[in-house]
């Protein structure tokens, strides 16, 4: 009767987490917007390609009518196969990360709001199992969102004219979605941690959103010596502005933790849309092993901090303020 199984508890908490998240209107709204934008991105990609192709064909007919026998090759042939995924990098950087913050925030705030923590915390469940269950649940929800995004994007890419998607391209795309999942998990854990440690609900949301703003906009600016055109766009700029003393120092200090920048760069290389195209998956990650290690260590650190914070959390009379 009183047999307690730590892994069993973790799965129980994870499944409750998934059930609760999928019942929330906020979660549905933001996920819906994200998936709609993914679908819109696919449509825009298809529309752009179709229009460009139609213009090329019309031009060829016109040139032939003018007596020009040699026409240039269709420029769409030189467009990277996964070019239509470029918009997704921006969407994940902006909406995806924000969605993850909100999911992580609500994951623990739901319990704080309901006041059930006193009843939960007298159960024979170690706090680490509780946090692990939460993270597992959050991870599975994010994974399912990213899977839906992947299915929509990959399926639609097969309908693009003149784009021959190979198995290799699909592999690159899948690794890009896995990498994006890790990036979103980082923000979900930020939301979870601050939902545990913050005194008020507004502060619990405000701090991770500030972090998101910092990681997405401020750090890349400082760490790259102000190259705003390359901030959200995975296209590598050809001419860097000269570094002043301040930006040179900031670059050395902030570059390793500039996760938003690393996400954009690595994603661009995975999708073959940056200038260093045609890299294998291994080459991409071996070229960015420090950045990948930084991301993984950050995720682990946030998980450990959440477990430590929960151990010190006093659930009595914890009715959070709006």
């Amino acid at each position: 009767m009183k047999n307690t199984n730590p892994m069993g508890n973790t799965f129980t908490i994870a499944s409750a987490e998934i059930r609760a998240l999928f019942r929330e209107k906020t979660m549905y709204s933001i996920t819906g917007v994200f998936l709609l934008m993914t679908a819109a991105s696919s449509f825009i990609g298809w529309s752009t390609f179709t229009t460009a192709d139609a213009v090329y064909r019309a031009s060829v007919v016109y040139l032939h009518a003018q007596g020009v026998s040699t026409v240039p090759e269709n420029p769409l042939h030189s467009v990277p196969a996964l070019a239509s995924f470029d918009n997704l990098i921006v969407y994940i950087l902006l909406i995806g990360a924000l969605l993850a913050v909100i999911i992580g925030h609500r994951s623990f705030m739901r319990e704080r709001r309901s006041g059930i923590l006193q009843v939960l915390f007298v159960r024979p469940v170690p706090k680490r199992s509780f946090v692990l269950g939460k993270i597992l649940g959050l991870g599975l929800v994010l994974f399912s969102i990213m899977s839906m995004t992947a299915i929509i994007s990959i399926a639609s890419s097969f309908f693009l004219p003149l784009q021959h998607i190979t198995i290799g391209n699909v592999g690159h795309a899948l690794v890009f979605f896995l990498f994006s999942f890790l990036y979103m998990l980082f923000f979900a854990l930020c939301g979870l941690l601050f939902a545990i440690v913050s005194k008020s609900e507004s502060l619990a949301l405000f701090i991770p959103i500030c972090l998101w703003v910092g990681i997405t906009f401020v750090l890349p600016e400082l760490a790259t010596g102000l190259t705003p055109t390359a901030l959200l766009n995975p296209v590598t700029i050809l001419q860097l502005p000269p570094l002043t003393g301040f930006f040179s120092t900031a670059q050395h200090i902030l570059f390793p933790i500039s996760l938003g920048w690393h996400y954009t760069t690595i994603s661009g290389e995975l999708l073959g849309s940056s200038f260093s195209t045609n890299l294998s998956i291994g080459q991409v990650f071996s070229g960015h092993w420090i950045e990948m290690t930084t991301l993984c260590v950050s995720i682990l650190t946030l998980g450990l901090l959440s477990a430590t914070a929960l151990r010190r959390f006093d659930p009595r009379g914890d009715y959070v303020n709006e």
Binding site: M1, K2, N3, T4, N5, G8, N9, T12, I13, A16, A20, R23, R110, S114, G115, I116, Q118, V119, L120, F121, V122, R123, P124, V125, P126, D314, P315, R316
Partner: protein, 247 residues
């Protein structure tokens, strides 16, 4: 009551809790035997909820130690948690889930092997069937309190902690709760630790009482002895005030 031959199921030794400038518990010593219904009396802020919070492992004491069922509440908290049930004051649940979903989740976390069967058994025991598929958000205070009792006894705990269980209940709700507490004690042999303000309920329910005043235990004895000792007092309320004045 022969306290020398029975090993206490709940003990507290020099239990102290300091919150910044406030001393909530001041070297509390307490022994409660198995099978008792212990009524813990005291005015607001006396330290009753702090005591229960330490005994239920929710918070750590600043000094001293406590055991429940022979296990230290801090060093062996999981062992304690396996053996206790707890009904906090103003118990809360997931309002968007049904009564069954709430109880199933809590039963699984308590290690109950067959939650469905156990939930049914507990609801029958509490005479509270037919509500399983209703969402908790639709429940009255009295109904929530009974679901609160249900979640606390799902895993057949040896000790049940109740913090102001009658708070906010109407007279009928109070009577029902009193009957449940006595039934749990008599039929399931549970030791019950109850924080309360209602002295009349203590007189009707408890076998032992303790009075806490400004974090100090100023009185602890069986209800029968108490009535004998204060024979010139007409009610338990007067005994309570008399004790308070002495300290």
């Amino acid at each position: 009551m022969n306290t020398t031959t029975i090993k206490p199921i709940i003990t507290a030794h020099a239990l102290t809790k300091q919150y910044k400038d406030t001393l909530a518990l001041d070297s509390l010593d307490l022994n409660i035997n198995k099978g008792e219904i212990f009524g813990f009396l005291g005015h607001n802020g006396a330290g009753k909820t702090t005591t229960v919070s330490i005994l239920t492992t929710l918070i750590a004491p600043t000094a001293g130690n406590a055991t429940v069922c022979g296990f230290d509440t801090q060093k062996e908290s999981i062992e304690v948690q396996k053996r206790i049930g707890y009904l906090p004051e103003n118990v809360k649940f997931y309002d968007s889930l049904t009564a069954y979903e709430n109880l199933e989740y809590l039963a699984k976390l308590s290690g109950v092997k067959n939650p469905k069967e156990k939930i049914h058994e507990v609801l029958v025991f509490l005479e509270f069937t037919g509500i399983e598929n209703k969402k908790l958000g639709e429940f009255s205070k009295g109904m929530r309190q009974r679901i609160g009792i249900a979640q606390a006894i799902l895993h057949d705990p040896e000790v049940l902690f109740l913090d102001e269980p009658t708070s906010g209940l109407d007279p009928m709700g109070i009577k029902k709760l009193r009957d449940i507490i006595i039934k749990l004690n008599k039929e399931k042999g549970m030791t019950i630790f109850m924080n309360t303000h209602l002295l009349s309920e203590v007189a009707k329910t408890c076998t032992t009482i303790g009075v806490l005043n400004q974090g100090k235990l100023i009185y602890c004895d069986s209800l029968a002895h108490t009535m004998e000792r204060f024979h010139d007092e007409s009610s338990l309320e007067e005994i309570y005030f008399t004790l308070g004045e002495k300290h």
